[in-house]
Amino acid sequence: MGGNGAMADNTDNIIVDTATRIFQDLCEPNTVNEAEQGVWPKALWHALEESGLTLTWVPDELGGAGAALADGFAVLRAAGRFAAPVPLAETLMAGWLLTQAGISVPGGPLTIAPIHADGRIALTADGALSGRARRVPFARNAGHIAVLARRGDETVVALVAATGLPISQATSLAGEPRDDVSFDGAVPMAVRPGPINQDLLVSFGAAVRLQQMAGALEKILEQSVQYALDRSQFGRPIAKFQAVQHNLAMLAGEVAAASAAADAAAEACASPDIAIGEIAIAKVRGGEAAGTGAAIAHQVHGAMGFTYEHSLHHATRRLWSWREEFGNEAVWAARLGRMVVERGADELWPFITAGS
């Protein structure tokens, strides 16, 4: 079968195998719960860093692993499956962004800012940054932040040490750090112009979240099927009830659609200018699948899935959080709709088939 190489084959990929083994060993449900209480999962992060996974998207000459975009996306899908409570996605994104500008990538946890379409960080004439970025993922844990900033008319990438930045802590509804960061007066360690603007950064972020969402959806399908087989009511496993079977069939469909959407977004990132239409399609469909899928998984799990003790919420709360980031379904759908009407009715079909 074809495939343009943008997607890794999960079945025989040593990078993904390595990541999965690390998550299996060091990212247990309790690790996720403790992280929400503020305990940094040191062993997990250490293992990810030791294996080079945190620098997946950084080429050899900038100190990284130099792996393909597809490999990194596949690792993030695995991370999503395990609800890994570390800024792996953010460190990968920061590595990618810095690399685009040719800036060497430091070790340790990284994150990016700003993450919103209307992000406004400026690099002033005196060489200092100004502006605030809201809801920066894992800012409190990051050693450095890769910042996209405006310098006059151009967009530059700036590497900023996080130490000493005023950070106002907040959390996502999944309990992950989403902090407001003030960059006023911060002097970057490096500044380089790069090809990435805020729109492309948000698009790339959407593709990253889609991988994590696809992983989380795979997880809740697995959990829901297993639960339905294990749980008995009315004298038989609830998996034997047609209503439950049909709910799970629908969940499987949503998971498959989200997975296909995540693949499409990953492919779109392989082109230099990122195919925005593909990203829009993927984030809308993936976001919908996240909502529909999480609802079905909870319905199947009953009251048990609504407890903190059960790990279902590790995935479902992240799905509700991630679908909102880097543009939710409404934002991307409106943009996609405008793209479609601009082309006109008779170009709708060619637009849909353009990717292949």
């Binding site: 079968m1 074809g2 495939g3 343009n4 943008a6 997607m7 084959d9 795979e218 399908l221 697995e222 099927v225 339905a228 087989l229 998996a239 034997k240 047609q242 439950v244 079977q245 049909h246 799970l248 069939a249 629908m250 499987a252 469909g253 998971v255 498959a256 659609a257 997975s259 296909a260 959407a261 693949d263 499409a264 492919e267 829009a280 399609i281 993927a282 809308v284 469909r285 919908e288 379904e329 409404a330 991307w332 759908a333 409106a334 943009r335 996609l336 709709g337 405008r338 793209m339 479609v340 009407v341 601009e342 006109g344 009715a345 008779d346 709708l348 079909w349 849909i352 088939t353 292949s356």
Partner: protein, 386 residues
Amino acid sequence: MSFSFRFDPVELPPEAKELRQEVRTFLREEIDAGTFSPDGGKGSFSREFSRRVGAKGWIGMTWPKKYGGHERSHLERYVVTEEMLAARAPTRAHSTADRQSGPVILRYGQEEIRQKILPQIARGELCFCIGLSEPNSGSDVFAASTRATKTDGGWLVNGRKIWTSGAHHADYMIALLRTSPPTKENRRHGLTQFLVHMKTPGITIRPIINLTGSHDFNEVVFDDAFLPDSHLIGEVDMAWKQATDELAYERSGPDRWIETFPALVELVRLAGEQPSERLAEGIGREVAHLATLRRMSLSVAGMLQAGKTPAVEAAVVKDLGTNFEQALPDKVRLLAPQIGDSQPDSNDDRFEEALRYATLIAPKLTIQGGTREVLRGIIARGLGLR
């Protein structure tokens, strides 16, 4: 263990991309020549059109050349199919044979029949229908009771098939007939597939008009209709073993998500260049669903090309696809600017016509070719739940 179904990305090979342009050119010429109109106004059945498609080499594309096929890939076939459907080309005279009946004959038919029938199908000369449903055997397809009884040199058929689409046009039917009673161990045992010439004495076709006012499906009555031995397809009593791959072919194609697409196209036309935010968002959502479904459907074509039998994956695509195409007209209806007296515009008429058609056919989309309930049962089995 992973419970997730995989729909690996497929990139179309260069020859498929060239082919797409070729098909578009052909369809434009056909429209210009007045063969059909893209709004579906001239019907979906044209033997002349099917012959021209056959002459292009676009029927039986994946079959061996010795049977009149063209030994091209499933991906190329996919491209032809989706272009035809998107343009609302009148493919009904050949589509069933191309998609389903031909592959069954190729796989299980007797050599004499293959040599006789397949080249004719590939030339666009034969129209097929499918004889599955009966008055007491709908979703429960293995409850069929129309009998084929062994006689000298062949079989005598008695009983009736119902909801048979296009039987009144068809030259042949592939029928599922009872040759033995089911066994205690296997209730699916005892059914056999046959090739039926529709002009066989003893066959009566009665129209059943559907709610759109059209004559599409029929009742087909068999009264001592004689089928020669050569028309036996596959093993006697063992049709249940042959059914699975047929369904994989039937269930994943573009026809399972594209039926109401014209309503969306006309909504885009109506929207103009400055749609409201609400309208833009609504259009975007539907396009996102459509594009993702197409991606999954194409992925299934890739699985077929790789020699797999993706029956469960096909059921997933059909379930998602038919639910999408069924819900689409209602979404479109509520997004569209209301027609009023102040804006006389011919686009309104086109829109209304497309929406009316889509609304009327919507109910059948989750019934034909396997109901939603049947599909979800298949998916549940694939998940290990039953």
